[in-house]
Subunit: 573 residues, 2 copies
């Protein structure tokens, strides 16, 4: 027999644990079984709650909040398929190390496996896609059980953020009556816990060993996703100290870390295939593997005899699909770069032939790109470049899979304004993009928040737009509408006959996005020129409001443009 006071005191203790553990946000989806948890979280002044009916969008929204704040975010849903809708976002969180605290509510044991309404087996529901699962005990208000509930709530944010960070899942069996006692809560004086938290770092001997490797000429940095703007700026400073070229994909924030330098190889994806004769002595990889297929192919072409590949990974999982690493460093990368910058080793290096060769390639490529883009006005490519170029300081730019991030990878240029670039590159899905971007926006309401996205990804997570409407989130969506799956036109599938290609890969949606804007209360603007787009983008920075800016294009034209540019670079380098 569960009493109202059992459920109230027990769950309140759990929530106190979350609060002491510095949880700031909870995203709730409506349901009956989750009633006490939802109500008590809603009433908790230290936790801001959002409500979203579609659990899939709710979970990606929580993912965005967690990405923006670098802190775990709570999800709450009712029993049954509700939790199953969380699965895509949980897989992405697990793959990209984003901390989430997933709280599912469930029937108690006596109502399981007997076809009770809205009941399914929720134990280990997410299996290997969460880093921790526990079934909670039934609510009881004894001292022991309140302490247990507090302790579970308190340690969940720690477990979720501990390296490798990721989603954790607790399943709460709850008996009726489900309405908690909402009278002003008693103070339970939970024991506050002090916490000294160590981190992975090299000692001085190891650091010297590494510095010796870096005191070589003909090195290059390759940055990937998972680095903050601040950290990337430190790696650029190290590149300047060593006089090594540095390349990185959009999620490395290299082009927008606030530093402009000739050493930044913004267009590496476009020219690197022409540099196969250049064998580096060292490649220093930080963060995830790069998005660029051309950079990956170039790396793959290096031999152990010529090059030593150094990889930093705090997790220690040696996640390298190229399996090239020869010096593996298990360390917090931010701590490492600070150590390398402040110690006397490695020493500064002068400009050399190697570095000049790269700088020249980058400059030539920039010139060729500029010439080609001048001849066209508005396109997916020029719009993507412009969106990156016009981002203000401290803004947040979210790049959707699959083409948005590639356009920015190829065509963005370094800017002095430091701002954040985000993407969902754990598993690279086109699902949940709008909701994730809105989560980042909700955590940064005073900043400029822009999402660059294609039409398929917009359709896939259209429900996420309800969050923008309900919470008046001032996201600017720049929608690259090529009426279908643009990426396949760049891949081998483009050899197929139209009768195979269009239904299976082209998949045109024929969707009128001005109606979508109307449905969700977004301002809508159809860009008719690059200049018009620029004016619109600039104006949104002064009066932020939820809006959709559509850029219409066709899939073939951009493939051709990229091809022309690659040919010109080939001829020039």
């Amino acid at each position: 027999m569960t009493h109202q006071s059992d459920i109230t005191d027990y769950l309140q203790s759990f929530i106190e644990g979350l609060v002491v553990g510095n949880v700031n946000y909870a995203v709730i989806s409506p349901g009956s079984r989750s009633t006490p948890l939802s109500l008590l979280l809603h009433r908790e002044p230290n936790i801001k709650t959002f409500v979203e009916v579609d659990e899939r969008s709710a979970a990606f929204f929580a993912l965005g909040l967690a990405k923006a704040t670098l802190k775990p975010v709570v999800l709450v849903c009712t029993s049954g398929t509700a939790a199953a809708n969380y699965f895509p976002a949980i897989c992405e969180a697990q793959a990209s190390g984003v901390p989430l605290i997933v709280l599912t509510t469930d029937r108690p044991h006596e109502l399981r496996q007997v076809a009770a309404s809205q009941t399914m087996d929720q134990l280990n529901l997410f299996n290997q896609q969460v880093k921790f699962f526990a079934e909670m005990a039934l609510p009881e208000a004894t001292d022991t059980m309140r302490q247990y509930a507090f302790w579970q709530g308190r340690r969940m944010p720690e477990i979720a953020t501990q390296i490798p960070s990721g989603p954790v899942h607790l399943n709460f069996p709850l008996r009726e009556p489900l309405l908690p006692d909402l009278s002003p809560k008693k103070q339970h004086h939970p024991h506050y816990i002090s916490h000294l938290k160590g981190q992975m770092q090299l000692d001085d001997n190891d650091l010297k060993y590494l510095a010796d490797m870096l005191n070589r000429q003909a090195g290059v940095f390759v940055l990937g996703g998972g680095l903050t703007v601040e950290e990337t700026a430190l790696w650029v400073k190290l590149a300047i100290k060593l006089n090594w070229p540095i390349m990185g994909d959009p999620l490395s924030n290299l082009d927008n870390c606030g530093i402009q330098s000739d050493l930044i190889m913004s267009q590496a994806d476009l020219f690197i295939s022409e540099l196969t004769d250049e064998k580096p002595t060292s490649v220093f990889r930080v963060g995830r593997l790069p998005v660029s297929k051309n950079i990956m192919l170039w790396l793959k072409g290096l031999s152990i005899e010529d090059t030593i590949v150094i990889e930093v990974d705090e997790k220690g999982y040696w996640e390298d699909s190229l399996r090239q690493g020869r010096l593996m460093i298990t360390s917090n990368s931010r701590t490492l770069v600070k150590q390398l910058l402040t110690s006397s080793y490695p020493s500064e290096a002068a400009m050399d032939f190697w570095t000049n060769r790269w700088i020249n390639a980058q400059k030539q490529t920039q010139k060729i790109v500029k010439e080609h883009l001048q001849s066209i006005d508005l396109s997916e490519i020029t719009a993507s470049r412009l969106v990156h170029e016009t981002m203000p300081k401290d803004g947040n730019l979210f790049l959707s899979n699959s083409m948005a991030i590639r356009h920015v990878e190829r065509f963005s240029q370094p800017t002095k304004k430091a701002f954040n670039v985000y993407g969902n590159r754990g598993v690279n899905g086109i699902d949940g993009i709008i909701s994730t971007a809105l989560g980042i926006c909700a955590a940064n309401p005073d900043k400029q928040n822009v999402l660059l996205i294609g039409d398929l990804a917009t359709y896939h997570d259209m429900n996420g737009l309800q969050l923008a409407k309900a919470y008046q989130l001032s996201l600017t969506i720049v929608l690259l509408n090529n009426n279908g799956g643009g990426i396949f036109s760049y891949l081998s599938q483009n050899q197929l006959e139209a009768s195979d290609f269009e239904p299976l890969f082209g998949t045109p949606l024929e969707m009128d996005f001005s109606l979508v804007a109307q449905l969700y209360g977004a301002d809508y603007y159809l860009a008719d020129s690059l200049d018009g787009l620029k004016k619109r983008l600039m104006s949104t920075q002064h009066s932020p409001h939820f809006q959709i800016i559509e850029v219409q294009d066709n899939r073939e034209r951009n493939v051709q443009l990229l091809d022309d540019i690659m040919q010109a670079i080939k001829g020039s380098l």
Copy 2:
């Protein structure tokens, strides 16, 4: 090293297995890794393919196709979160025993767990929510491996449909190059397999034992979901033979099995709470537990001393959350009812006081309902009753969770026209409803297909509407729009203050559904009267076309109406 011929011959053999196993439909979501499987299925003349970008909707669409055809349907998607989007539909399929063959494609082993792009652990991805999982071998075109692939394809439909039926999952590791050979395929002459399939049925002695139980007065039938119209008609005939009242929820098809009889207790949910003094000697339960909470409470109130509860369940899992069964029958229920109808036992029984008491309650309730509904014109309740009433013979009516099915449960009347009622009552989610209904519609393009649904469920699966647009499916959606989660106004949550209730449970969407209709190319009609709604419903039967008919209502009014009716019944019986 995988060659194009390996991938082609191997997958072609697998598909031949599916074809010989009588698979008719595949639902494909676009992606790169799945290219060879998608292309070969698309080219297979014996399998009709549908393509849908949102995998969540794709999976529910497959669920609908499988429900309508009672045969397994294939799902194909690419690697990564794509498969995770299948999860809600898979949970529903597992809980309701719907056969699905889920084919996920994956990177080969050498690209796993090393942060390769769009890769996550897909082994046992759906864990306990599928009845079978296997990782396929890498494609090879040897005789052994072609035979293996054929055999796997051939037995998947058998495993999926074997009791307890449900979803099966195969994960295909595929190496590049991914384009198969599309030149006219060789005939591989797979060995065709003959198959004699037994089923659970009682022998004559057991049947006599059961018949003795049924030769008692004061018995009652309770039918639940999972019965076809034809089977339910047989149970009604048995009820007539025994002169027992028979009740059943909408998914039992009782009101629309083609037989009208005084013994059919259509309004049992409304009056059964007044019959607590009537103790049956026997309750014969067939199918899932009833949807009605009042019927469940009445059942729960019965004691072992007075009543023997008989339960038929082919699975033999004894799924009874009331744990009341005293005679458990593991048999195919359709076979059982045929045996009981054609054998000399049980014998026919005459009308008695018990049965008359029920018939009287049902008639009184019908009268009270009629009087109350006359005073109001258009409402959620009257519209729901009308939708059921106007269904033509052989049509398909899909009832959404959570209120649509309850309105029909309470207010529908028996009709002579036999038609099919469907719902997703495995886990009772409000997700995927539109797509499931569209799957049923796609399998029955020449029939009248109607979906009765609320605004939250419509929003949750709005992406499913793209399937109606792309494949010109002539579904008639009757949308009960009470601007939020109607069910909570009937539950204890309605005691909450508005500041807690509205954001967490009311959750108004403020959505203009005429725009939704426009977005997806549906005809739109806002019903302004019950008569207008009736005319519109009748006209759609003559020129079927994808349409949304909106009925606007408010949540409080229907709670009040139900309350008034229940009070009147209480005073009358």
